[in-house]
Amino acid sequence: MSTEKILSSDGIPLELSLKKAERKNKLKAVMLVAPLFLFLIITYVFPIGDMLFRSVDDRMITKMLPNTFTAIEKWDGKELPEEPVYAALYEDLAYLKKTKTYGKIIARLNYEKGGFSSLIKKTVRKLGKFEEGNYKEQFIKVHKRWGQNEYLVALKNTAPNWSYAKYLKGVDLKFDQDRNIIQQDEDRRIHKILWLRTLKVAFWVTIFCFLLAYPISYLLATLPMKYSNLLMICVLLPFWTSLLVRTSSWMVLLQQQGPINDLIVWLGLAANDARPELMYNVIGTFVAMTQILLPFMVLPLYSVMKTISPSLMRAGKSLGGTPFVAFRKIYFPLTIPGIGAGSLLVFILAIGYYITPALVGGASGSLISNTIAYHMKSSLDWSFAAALGTMLLVGVLTIYWIYNKLVGIDNIKLG
């Protein structure tokens, strides 16, 4: 067999010149994607990475008490530390007092162990009266807690630069004195309930969206075009309407003097002075979210049902199946891709929902997103907000990954 290479017109082997052209095309495609890719890397992916970093970053206190942590490093934690540790602590606190920045360490230390707040405040106040030498004695004189081993152990425990304590807090766990992981105190266990509620609401919203969307998607897919287009507007109009408008209409509907309560009273299901609370609890969140997310279930279901030929059902019936059997054995299995796509989409959207639960949910109907927003805007515990956000993100990305495997991300249909 001839092994002679085929040459292109300018004398270069065809294989090489083809490869070159391929490379050029590849480069061209990559260059087109590059602007958006780089834009997103800088303004989106990197900030999300930064958020992840923030959730485990615990360097602030090490930076603010540098001498103390160098001195306390060698301490074994059994007996009270020696003089140099206290001397270093004095030096650090004196500097913080001068720059008026000790507020931050109070919050951090008090988080590690209650009681630090008053301890630091009192010590800083009396710092001016300290005399040189024998700091250990003076510290203990100012506040007896400086003579208690557990406070110094707690101080030493804050030394590592990285900490996953916020993640533990996110699932109602914490470190005890000896760095063992234990349950949070009974009255502080609120996050597990919140996670469960978020999952529960997302799950039931998905189920109800499916139950409501399936019949109407079938109707839309089987009606003649001129009717189905008209009905499609009923789906698209809410889909395109502002989320806040839809939420506010639910606030109007569900309020105590609202039309739904009027109807309940009129039907005699409740007395006029005992109108049920439909809003500011989990019912409100659930009902409003179901209506708002319904189009996201209808659209993928509809686009799948549209492709199923009606003759398949007729064939099933002509072969002796009852309509029910034909539906169960033929139609339903063919719609499963649509069900999968719609359900995953609704679940992903529901699990991170913020606006609607914040407005109609009240305290008992708020979800994990609302807690993240609370820590971002009110309690200003940003690292905890970042930790909760990261946990939610991991959950969503897992579902996204499944969605991508099952449905394919480029199969998302819009409208």
Binding site: P47, R54, V245
Partner: protein, 273 residues
Amino acid sequence: MSLPNYTSWNYRVWHYTYLTICALVFFFLIAPLFIILPLSFNAEQYMHFSKGMLALDPDAFSLRWYEDMIYGTKNPWGLAAKNSIIIAFFATIGSTILGTVAALGLSSRHMPYKAAFMALLISPMIVPLIISGTAIFFFMAKVGLAATHTGIILAHIILGTPFVVITVTATLTGFDHSVTRAAASLGSNPVNTFMKITLPLILPGVISGALFAFVTSFDEVVVVLFLAGLENTTIPIQMWVGLREQLSPTIMAVATCLIVMCPLLLPLYNSYV
């Protein structure tokens, strides 16, 4: 749907039950939107129907909340509307350009790691807004763009591009690449080919993507809540503030305006997609 004469009685019952269920679901979808319209004409400062309204007494209706919306003292809606339009306009342009160009690359058969890139470029649509908001806020604060229009526009470009990428790639799947080769062989440069051949062909996808990007930006609250200062307030922010503090009929008037705006977008969308 009329049924043939031979259908059994059983099936008939089932059929009409089914239609009733569908009617109820459609009602559930669409009715809440319409509850707002009459309430925005309420003469009283209540968010529920007064007796006069139910009796269709003309005195029970008024335009005072629309007046309040436009001429009210310390009226935030004018500034909010201006900001919303400016932000949505620039965000739409940004997302449409970046998204369309990226979609062209993604649809090329030479693009390596297509699925991975696609998953990344779509991710702002999937990641919960509260997380995007948190992350973008940290970033904008770091680079000094928090509480600026630029910062909000950039954030909305991030959120809008996935829609453009999806709609444009969808139009490009049926795209016949030989037409661009034909143009090139006839001596057209790539830019000219894009403007004269490719763009007109993928225009429906681009327009519907742009529409999505516009609506996303115009309706976005969560990220703006983190980023906006008093100067950057938008319509959704004002609604959010209003809904949290007190339900005033002025909000219903604004909501009515937004609902009326929507059917104006629908035909535009439908005629292209």
